[in-house]
């Protein structure tokens, strides 16, 4: 489903003649329905790697293939379409729109203008997702009226609204307490298990890593399989 071939990422720095090499020739292949956790110390490039996988960022070199298509050959609009239709994102900060209800927040990706499906169907899907994440009774609430864990579950539902094949989660429990973290972890695992959504999670949390299973460690710009969570 996703294949990274010898991907590197450098960041130039104004005060240094040589840039920082964040990713050094990473190759990775993830099959549909697989779930992967990427762990590593702070600043090792986990989020960068996730953003490159999610077509949010471009590698310095190497290729990123999504369903066999090289992302480098796609324009901004096509990348946006892939992000909207094929990929779901869950961020550490949920970025819910405080002025919109929970239900509306889930529907936000449908307004990106890349899909002409009926709003009614999207509405039903959003309700189902909220039911799935245990927020059926909070649909008309505002984010400000929810707990941190509930907000992150809304963010998960939002990520799934367009039935993505791939769900990317960047520190999804980073700002949650233990109980809420467990809920979110359970949700992600359940989605992967029950709906076959390919899942890539970047986290510090060992507990989360253990629950998801296949752990890879990013250290020194290289990705090592089978790291101990």
């Amino acid at each position: 489903m996703v294949e990274l071939v010898d991907v590197t990422k450098d960041y130039g720095q104004a005060d240094q003649p040589v840039g920082v090499h964040v990713l050094k020739g990473i190759s990775l292949k993830i099959e549909p329905g697989q779930s992967v956790v990427i762990v590593g110390p702070s600043g090792c490039g986990k989020s960068t790697l996730l953003n490159i996988i999610g077509a949010l960022d471009h590698p310095t070199s190497g290729r990123v293939l999504f369903d066999g298509r090289d992302l480098a050959g796609l324009n901004d609009r096509e990348l946006a379409r892939i992000r909207n239709r094929e990929i779901g994102f869950v961020f550490q900060l949920h970025h819910l729109l405080p002025q919109c209800t929970v239900l509306e927040n889930v529907l936000i990706p449908t307004l990106a203008g890349v899909d002409n499906s009926s709003p009614k169907a999207a509405h039903e899907r959003a309700e189902q997702l909220l039911e799935r994440v245990g927020l059926a009774d909070r649909m008309v609430h505002r984010p400000g009226e929810l707990s941190g864990g509930q907000r992150q579950r809304v963010a998960v539902a939002r990520a799934l609204i367009n039935r993505p094949k791939l769900l990317l989660a960047d520190e999804p429990t980073g700002s949650l307490d233990e109980e809420a973290s467990n809920d979110v972890a359970e949700l992600l695992v359940g989605l992967n298990r029950d709906e076959g959504v390919t899942l890539i999670v970047v986290t510090h949390s060992q507990k989360l890593a253990q629950r998801i299973g296949h752990v890879m460690e990013l250290r020194g710009g290289t990705l090592n399989d089978g790291a101990q969570a």
Partner: protein, 1103 residues
């Protein structure tokens, strides 16, 4: 660390934000103080103008078409112990040496060194030589002449008797002189002398008093007296009391002379007819006093026998032996010469044919029959040529054939015997009727006696003189001082209040700047939310935190105030410069002097500071009330509650509805007031409407933001929802733009386009083709062939043309060209039926509920001492501050007070600047005002130019200035439109502030929501799609501001434009609104593009 240390360190640390706040405060204060100082400057200029035009003059006798002894000034000076200067003023026309340039309606002033001593300057210029002239600077400029050049001055020679008096000669009464320019008189040299309250420089020409007196046949006379302020204060009553003590009969044109045969003392007037008041007083002085009225008749006939051109005296039977005591009014006594000529005997019926002079010198020949009651021999008392007054053109000629009376005389009818009679007996009357009968036939508005006689006794002359000058108020002959300085100062004080005007229209600009101040300040505070949260978290009470921030804001506001006051002075200088150049029409070309009172600056600064502090406090107070947890956790926890939203929304709804209802009530119930009221309604209703509209918008934002139950289905819906997120900011955008739009749109609505159809009777031109003004009044009827011929016009060239002639009583210009509040506006006397018949002009308001009476209202009988008047809307509402039913106090020619009651108001018109009264009222109040100095001309469309040319060339020597009516109207509109241009600039500044605010808010919204935008990018929103969302979000607010501003302006201006004359320029209005909308969209787009550029996704990465 102390309170103030924390404050000052924060001030410096956040200097960029604080600088932005300071600049916004500066703008508010600069505009506020600037508006006030503009008012100061205009007031100062008007005060300076009073000094320039009056010098040290405190009181003045204003010319009344009467003349008195110049020596009266000497007598008064002794009485009053203050400088009194005589001036002889006549109207003139001046041309340069080759006649290529002409200036009409100049004031030719005969002055001596006393006049200059009263001037504003310390020095007295060298006296003029007899053949030289000193020109006021404006005249010299217009003629483009300088010292040493020659000019030709044509002056009106005013007769002693009014030119409308029956039998007064209508021969050319002007004289022309070629003079050398000796000097040019600037303000310092009293060149601006003017008794009328007008800031526009007068067209003055100065010549020596004695020389002018000789030239216009009024030697040793004057018609103006100027009295200086003395060391001791004297009231106008005291000055007039002194005048009462000094005046002599000669000052009223009266002469008391003893006659040897018969042995009587006779009082007669240089004006031929003795004023009624004087005659009444004279008859009361002595029990034996008797009145005489002698008239010139065309013929006396008995059957087919005719004696031409004779004098007939009407005398009191009790005071003479010439007629029997019991003679009735239809009887006549003739002398033997006439009896012989006609072959008449006692009992015969004679027919007397004579002319009566009507309006416009229309002669009406009348004939009356009298029965011969007696025949007196032509001897003794019957030979009395003194019975005939000195009719000019009749009395002092050797032969009858040289008569030049103001009536047609057929010289062929004069026989040799008539010449012989004239040679032997001069004006000795040939017939006598009773005084009662004579007064019934020949009495007129100038008087009904030509002489009063008393039997001669020793000391009678002194007794009569003393009694007459003591008993008669000299005011009855126009001799009374008026407090011209006091009036002038009042006129300036009460005139157009530019400070208020600028302040009124600047209020919306100031409001915009204050909104911007609040916005910028709150942005600064918001960027320091975590810091505020920390202060709260470490235990500082929220009030103390609030005080720290308020102190910081206060210091910024104080600094902004200081800079703002200085900027206000620069702003004022720019405005004053604009008023002196680009917008000079708004002040009628007056050079406005910059003048700032310290107290004004203090008031402006203080008010601005308080307003800025209020704006800061109002935005700050909610911020520090938020819990520390929220502040520390960023700003994502916006609290939304449908219940609270509805509750707060209801408040907004209530405020909105009440404000709008208040505004509508204001417009409906108070919109019909005077100009000041209408302006008050405009500003009041405008403010209420804007407040109401903003309150409604706030309610809408809250309700939409809090009570939205249906999920989003579109990007525009998301944009709308986003705009509810920061309702304060959204309201700020709406408010900023609404203020600017309100101003610009109001100004556009007020702006007057050219008259679309000037030929229409209901337009501001009245359907007339021309408006003419004359330096020398015409006496004849421009509508009759006879009148045209008398004026030297070729009647055939005027076929199809007609004129409405206007009598003019000089007064203050009450048009928009005068910045002063006119105290006694110029009066126009019109034959009502002429305007009524044409249905000219449009009545906006009348005293009647129906307008059907129109001009006929001028004929209404309003009781003793009240004269109905009609005025132009601008004249009444703005220049005079009067409305229907209001009254203005005037004094007639005889010094008697009367009231003008406003009975009608016509829409903006070419009659602006004057009040119109019926001609009959005019001549009754001002009988000496001879002829017509202005007229309105109707001309058939195709012949308009030809008629204009004919009149201009034919009436050249009358100093005609003929202006196309549409052009005159456009000139008035140009003044208003210049004002509107100034206000457009203010509106434009408001819009600039609006756009700055809009851009800042869009940028701010976008920058603080970069994470959110990045998320949207992450979930598949393209950059373009995001741009559209941002556009929807903010352009909706722009649109709301536009709608609020336009609707508020449209309602607020209703009272001002509801007159039929008002034409709303819909097309340009639409263009303006569209342009503002497009401009708003452009700025949103720019700000959005700036905010969305760069890698938005970095915002996610930086987490």
């Amino acid at each position: 660390m102390s309170f103030w240390r924390l404050v000052t360190q924060s001030l410096w640390f956040y200097r960029r934000t604080n600088l932005a706040v300071l600049l916004a405060v500066m703008v508010a204060i600069a505009v506020l103080t600037g508006a006030l100082v503009v008012g100061d400057s205009v007031q100062y200029t008007l005060r300076r103008t009073v000094e320039a035009r009056l010098g040290q003059t405190e009181y003045a006798v204003i010319p009344q078409d009467r003349f008195f002894r110049a020596a009266l000034a000497d007598d008064l000076q002794k009485q009053l112990d203050r400088m009194v200067a005589p001036v002889l003023q006549v109207t003139g026309i001046i041309t340069n040496a080759d006649g290529s340039t002409r200036v009409n309606r100049v004031d030719v002033l005969g002055v001596d060194e006393r006049f200059y001593r009263l001037g504003p300057g310390a020095s007295v210029p060298a006296p003029n030589g007899d053949e030289t002239v000193t020109l006021g600077a404006p005249v010299a400029d217009r003629l483009a002449v300088s010292v040493g050049d020659e000019i030709v001055l044509r002056v009106e020679k005013p007769g002693l008797m009014p030119r409308d008096v029956p039998l007064a000669s209508d021969a050319d009464r002007t004289a022309a002189f070629r003079l050398k320019v000796q000097a040019l008189a600037d303000d310092e040299a009293f060149g601006r002398f003017d008794l009328k309250a007008n800031q526009a420089a007068p067209l003055n020409v100065f010549v020596p008093l004695a020389w002018l007196g000789e030239m216009v046949e009024h030697p040793g006379q004057a018609n103006i007296l100027l009295a200086a302020a003395g060391e001791e204060e004297a009231s106008v009553d005291q000055v007039n009391a002194a005048l009462q003590r000094c005046w002599r009969l000669a000052d009223a044109g009266l002469e008391l002379r003893p006659l040897a045969r018969p042995d009587v003392l006779e009082l007669r007037s240089g004006r031929i007819f003795i004023d009624q008041t004087l005659a009444d007083a004279a008859l009361k002085v002595d029990a034996d006093a008797t009145g005489i009225l002698t008239y010139f008749v065309n013929q006396i006939a008995l059957g087919d026998k005719v004696t031409p051109y004779s004098m007939v005296a009407a005398i009191n039977p009790n005071g003479t032996s010439l007629i029997p005591r019991n003679m009735s009014a239809d009887q006549i006594v003739i002398n033997q010469w006439l009896a012989d000529d006609l072959g008449a005997k006692v009992g015969d019926s004679l027919e007397l044919t004579y002319y009566l002079v009507g309006l416009k010198r229309n002669l009406v020949e009348r004939t009356d029959s009298f029965t011969v009651a007696g025949i007196v021999p032509l001897s003794g008392a019957a030979i009395d040529p003194n019975l005939t007054p000195d009719f000019p053109g009749l009395a002092n000629v050797d032969n009858c054939r040289d008569w030049e009376a103001g009536i047609p005389i057929d010289l062929d009818k004069i026989r040799t015997k008539d010449e012989t009679y004239w040679d032997d007996y001069r004006g000795t009357p040939k017939a006598f009727i009773t005084l009662e009968a004579g007064q019934a036939l020949w009495g007129n508005r100038f008087g009904n006696l030509t002489a009063v006689r008393c039997p001669w006794r020793e000391g009678l002359t002194e007794r009569i003189t003393t009694r007459l000058t003591g008993d008669i108020d000299p005011a009855t002959v126009g001799l009374f001082f008026q407090p011209v300085r006091q009036r002038g100062l009042a006129a300036g004080r009460e005139g157009t209040d530019f400070g208020q005007l600028f302040l009124g229209l600047s209020m919306f600009l100031i409001a915009s700047a204050l909104i911007l101040t609040g916005l910028l300040f709150v942005f600064g505070v918001e960027s320091r939310s975590e810091q505020v949260g920390t202060l709260l978290a470490v235990g500082l009470p929220s009030k103390r935190v609030g005080r720290i921030l308020l102190a910081e804001g206060g210091l910024v506001a104080l600094a902004g105030t200081i800079v703002g006051v200085a900027a206000g002075l620069v702003y004022t200088r720019l405005m004053v410069y604009g008023l002196s150049t680009l917008w000079r029409r708004a002040v009628a070309g007056t050079q406005i002097d910059f003048f700032a009172k310290p107290v004004t600056l203090s008031i402006g600064g203080l008010l601005g500071l308080l307003a800025s502090l209020f704006a800061i406090w109002i935005t700050l107070r909610k911020k520090v009330k938020r819990p520390a947890r929220e502040l520390l956790g960023g700003d994502l926890e916006a609290r939304y509650s449908r219940k609270a939203a509805w509750s707060r929304g209801r408040w907004g709804l209530a405020v909105g509805i009440v404000s709008i209802a208040g505004a509508v009530a204001l417009v409906a119930f108070m919109g019909g007031g005077s100009g000041q009221d209408v302006a008050g309604v405009f500003f009041g209703a405008g403010s209420l409407l804007l407040i109401g509209a903003l309150a409604l918008c706030q309610a809408l934002l809250r309700i939409v933001g809090g009570g939205w139950n249906k999920p989003l289905v579109s990007l525009s819906g998301l944009g709308l929802r986003n705009s509810t997120r920061r309702s304060g900011r959204s309201l700020a955008i709406i408010g900023l733009l609404a203020c600017g739009v309100f101003l610009v749109v109001s100004v556009q609505i007020f702006r007057q386009g050219p008259v679309s159809d000037p030929e229409r009777r209901d337009s501001g031109t009245g359907g007339f083709a021309f408006y003419g003004e004359l330096s020398v009044a015409v006496l004849h009827d421009l509508n009759t062939e006879k009148g045209r011929v008398a004026l030297g016009l070729n009647s055939s060239d005027l076929d199809g043309a007609s004129a409405v002639q206007l009598r003019v009583r000089a007064g203050d210009d009450a048009s928009c060209l005068n910045l002063n509040r006119a105290q006694q506006p110029r009066l126009l006397g019109v034959e009502t039926k002429e305007l009524s018949r044409r249905g000219a002009f449009t009545f906006v308001k009348t005293t009647k509920s129906e307008n059907e009476q129109g001009w006929n209202l001028l004929k209404a009988d309003l009781g003793q001492g009240v004269v109905p008047a009609v005025g132009d809307k601008n004249t009444l509402e703005w220049a005079l501050g009067k409305n229907i039913g209001d009254e203005l106090e005037y004094k007639d020619e005889a010094g008697r007070a009367f009231s003008l009651r406003i009975v009608g108001m016509i829409a903006s018109s070419i009659l602006q600047g004057s009040l119109v009264i019926d001609e009959a009222h005019f001549v009754a109040r001002f009988p000496s005002e001879a002829g017509y100095s202005a007229f309105l001309v109707d001309a058939p469309g195709a012949e308009t130019q030809e008629v204009g040319r004919t009149l201009t060339s034919g009436l050249r020597d009358f100093g005609l200035v003929l202006t196309p009516a549409a052009q005159r109207l456009a000139a008035f509109s140009a003044v208003e439109n210049t004002y509107l241009s100034i206000f457009t600039v203010l509106g434009g500044l408001g819009l600039i502030l609006g756009c700055i605010g809009l851009g800042l808010i869009v940028l701010r919204n976008m920058l603080e929501r970069r994470g959110e935008l990045a998320m949207l990018r992450a979930v598949g929103f393209s950059r373009q799609r995001l741009g559209i969302m941002v556009f929807y979000e903010h352009w909706g607010l722009v649109l709301s501001g536009l709608i609020c501003g336009v609707v508020a302006a449209a309602i607020a201006v209703i009272p001002a434009v509801q007159s039929p004359g008002g034409q709303i320029p819909y097309f340009s209005l639409l263009l303006t609104v569209v342009a503002i909308g497009v401009s708003g969209g452009f700025w949103v787009w720019i700000a959005a593009a700036l905010a969305l550029r760069g890698e938005l996704l970095d915002a996610l990465r930086n987490e």
